[in-house]
């Protein structure tokens, strides 16, 4: 990926500690996500990847530390401004998270109806565009329960890009998908990264995806409860001296 120009940091995480009640999830997280990065959050099951994602998108409040979006702390700005900040985000959840009582078109139209002054016709056109971008043209009137898992994720992606966000988050995009659908989703992520100039943050533990799309990554460790590597996945594979990172990236079972 061309990185000739020096890119600005889009999201900065400073000294972040995450907890669920009394339970420590991760601590001392420090990393930058640059503009137009495809940033991978990886690590074994249960290490807190999804929790980190939910902190990044402002759903959970950090126990300690800061999350800065364009150099603004998303938790110290007043609530009204925070809502505006968070509108720069599009999120695709693990299970899709589309509202089950609404059709795909209604789901995708919702953010447009809420935050823009567009007419019904204009919104319908935009919905059609977003659905065709993810390869689901013609599925407007389907309900989330009527389509397959892979389609659900793509529909969820269509909703995430409804407002043309600067940052797109994916929680386990390839979970539960067959290799081909998973590959297609990866390609789609890369295309959106290039054409929308969006920064992309992906939580995953699929090695194929990590190497195919990622150009920056952090590795979270469940045992030491902090990040133990940061860099381009290929660099980590070639140069990391940490056994845990090597084992993960080379798919080796522990001895």
């Amino acid at each position: 990926m061309p990185t000739s120009k020096r890119r600005k940091a889009k999201i900065q995480v400073r000294d972040l500690t995450m907890r669920y009640g009394d339970k420590l999830i991760q601590q001392n997280l420090n990393f930058d996500i640059l503009e137009r990065d495809v940033f991978i959050i990886m690590g074994g099951s249960g290490c807190g990847k999804s929790t980190l994602l939910k902190h990044l998108i402002g759903l959970y409040m950090p126990a300690k530390g800061q999350i800065l979006l364009d150099r603004q702390d998303i938790w110290t700005v007043p609530p009204s401004q925070r809502e505006a900040l968070l509108r720069h985000f599009g999120v695709t959840y693990q299970a899709g998270a589309l509202i089950s009582s609404m059709t795909l078109a209604e789901n995708i139209a919702m953010p447009l109806e809420m935050y823009t002054q567009l007419s019904t016709g204009e919104i319908a056109d935009l919905v059609e565009l977003k659905l065709s971008l993810v390869g689901l043209a013609g599925f407007q009137e389907y309900y989330p329960s009527e389509i397959s898992g892979g389609m659900l994720k793509r529909a969820s992606l269509a909703r995430a890009i409804a407002l043309d966000p600067d940052v797109l988050f994916f929680d386990e995009p390839s979970a539960g998908l067959d290799p081909i659908s998973s590959r297609r989703l990866d390609d789609l992520i890369l295309q959106l990264n290039e054409s929308l100039c969006a920064t992309i943050v992906v939580v995953t533990h699929e090695l194929a995806s990590i190497f195919a799309i990622g150009n920056n990554a952090i590795f979270l460790d469940a045992k030491s409860k902090t990040m133990i590597a940061n860099g381009h996945p290929r660099d980590l594979l070639d140069n990391s001296t940490d056994q845990r990172v090597q084992r993960f990236l080379r798919r080796q079972a522990s001895e």
């Binding site: 759903l59 999120v91 693990q94 899709g96 509202i99 089950s100 919702m110 809420m114």
Partner: protein, 374 residues
């Protein structure tokens, strides 16, 4: 069919203790307790030899037996050697003995009375805390709603109204009619002795208008609609739909709770008026068929004895009940954890909390009206 009993023979040989596995080992024949073997081992032994030379058919019951032996021997720092044990058994044992990298200790549930008391108190304290902040958020969201700033879908709202109102009519009809008839029966038995059967109309009218119709409707709605709300919001929580809404900057309070509450607040008084009519009709049916009261006598007596005040009190209560039913349904639903069991629990507690709050509210209103003398 003869059953071979799973067995083994053993003998000591210096510091070594040999176990010979004999015949077939399977679950049908049962598995000997591994510890019973250790009871037979003489002191001073430091090595176990397991021989599979005379072993017949086997299944996982053998592996489980050997695993217990192996673990116990390891605890005693003895050596274990396997001789002519089938390859499959050896592989399964190895797999079972491969210790995962780390064992995270499972949080122990409280044991003693004091621990339990403390644990439960914390849980209750959290629920109360959450409920108070729920009421706070709801009030704030209502404020935005009245200023016309709340984000919700009109379609959803009308669908909820349809569900809470017209769709509840059949069950409200049945229950209210029966309640009216029961009240009339009970009253009739007593009043007939004094030749005062006409006063059944007063009894039924007053009880329905002031108390029964609003309360019974509320209890029906807690079981029907409150539970549905908890299940809907609970499964939305499971599917991350609520998270999805929040990331789009849509408040679940405005989008989900306000329309539900509004639908109930609009529909419950109407249902209560309807329940009043049905209950009184039930009373009339009993009076006319059992006691020699005519239709016009009954209506005349009813109109003369039950003043508008009682109806108004019933209606005010029904609005309060609508608020508590919607609140308990939505609160438990939103608070649900992310599993199928949790949604079930949320639904149960929605109904329980709803009914408790209905009765408590009713008592408070009764106390208030008594003090105010209305």
């Amino acid at each position: 069919m003869t059953k071979t009993i799973s067995q083994f023979s053993c003998h000591a040989n210096g510091r070594q203790f040999q176990i010979d596995l004999l015949g077939s080992w399977d679950k049908e024949n049962g598995v000997p307790q591994a510890l019973s073997v250790f009871a037979k081992i003489p002191a001073g032994t430091n090595k176990l030899l397991v021989s599979g030379e005379q072993l017949g058919a086997w299944d996982s019951s053998l592996v489980s037996f050997l695993l217990q032996i192996h673990l116990e021997a390891e605890r005693r720092h003895w050596q274990v050697e396997y001789q002519r044990v089938p390859q499959g058994v050896g592989q399964l044992l190895q797999l079972a003995l491969a210790v995962p990298e780390s064992r995270v200790p499972h949080q122990e549930p409280p044991h003693t009375f004091a621990e339990n008391l403390g644990f439960q108190s914390i849980v209750i304290w959290r629920v109360v805390n959450d409920f108070i902040s729920f009421i706070g958020e709801l009030t704030a969201a209502s404020g935005r709603f009245w200023r016309g700033q709340a984000r919700y879908r009109k379609v959803d709202f009308w669908w909820l109204v349809q569900d809470a109102g017209p769709h509840s009519l059949p069950i409200v009809t049945l229950i209210s009619l029966l309640i009216g008839m029961i009240l009339a029966f009970v009253g009739a038995v007593q009043l007939e002795r004094f030749g005062a059967s006409i006063f059944v109309a007063n009894l039924v009218g007053l009880a329905m208008a002031r108390e029964m119709s609003s309360m019974m409707t509320a209890i029906i709605m807690a079981g029907r609609t409150g539970a549905a709300y908890a299940a809907q919001l609970g499964s939305m929580q499971v599917n991350e739909e609520i998270d999805g809404l929040k990331t789009m900057g849509v408040s679940p309070m405005e989008f989900l709770v306000i329309p539900r509450m509004l639908a109930l607040v609009l529909m419950m008084p109407l249902l209560t008026i309807y329940a009043n009519l049905m209950g009184m009709l039930g009373g009339a049916i009993v009076s006319i068929t059992m006691l020699d009261v005519s239709w016009s006598q009954f209506v005349g007596q009813l109109v003369g004895s039950v003043s508008l005040k009682h109806f108004v009190i019933g209606l005010v209560k029904s609005v309060l009940f609508a608020v508590v039913v919607a609140m308990s349904g939505c609160f438990t639903g939103l608070r649900s954890a992310r599993s199928a069991t949790a949604v079930g629990q949320a639904t149960t507690s929605a109904v329980v909390l709803g009914i408790v709050l209905i009765i408590v509210t009713d008592s408070l209103v009764t106390i208030a009206t008594t003090i105010l003398d209305i």
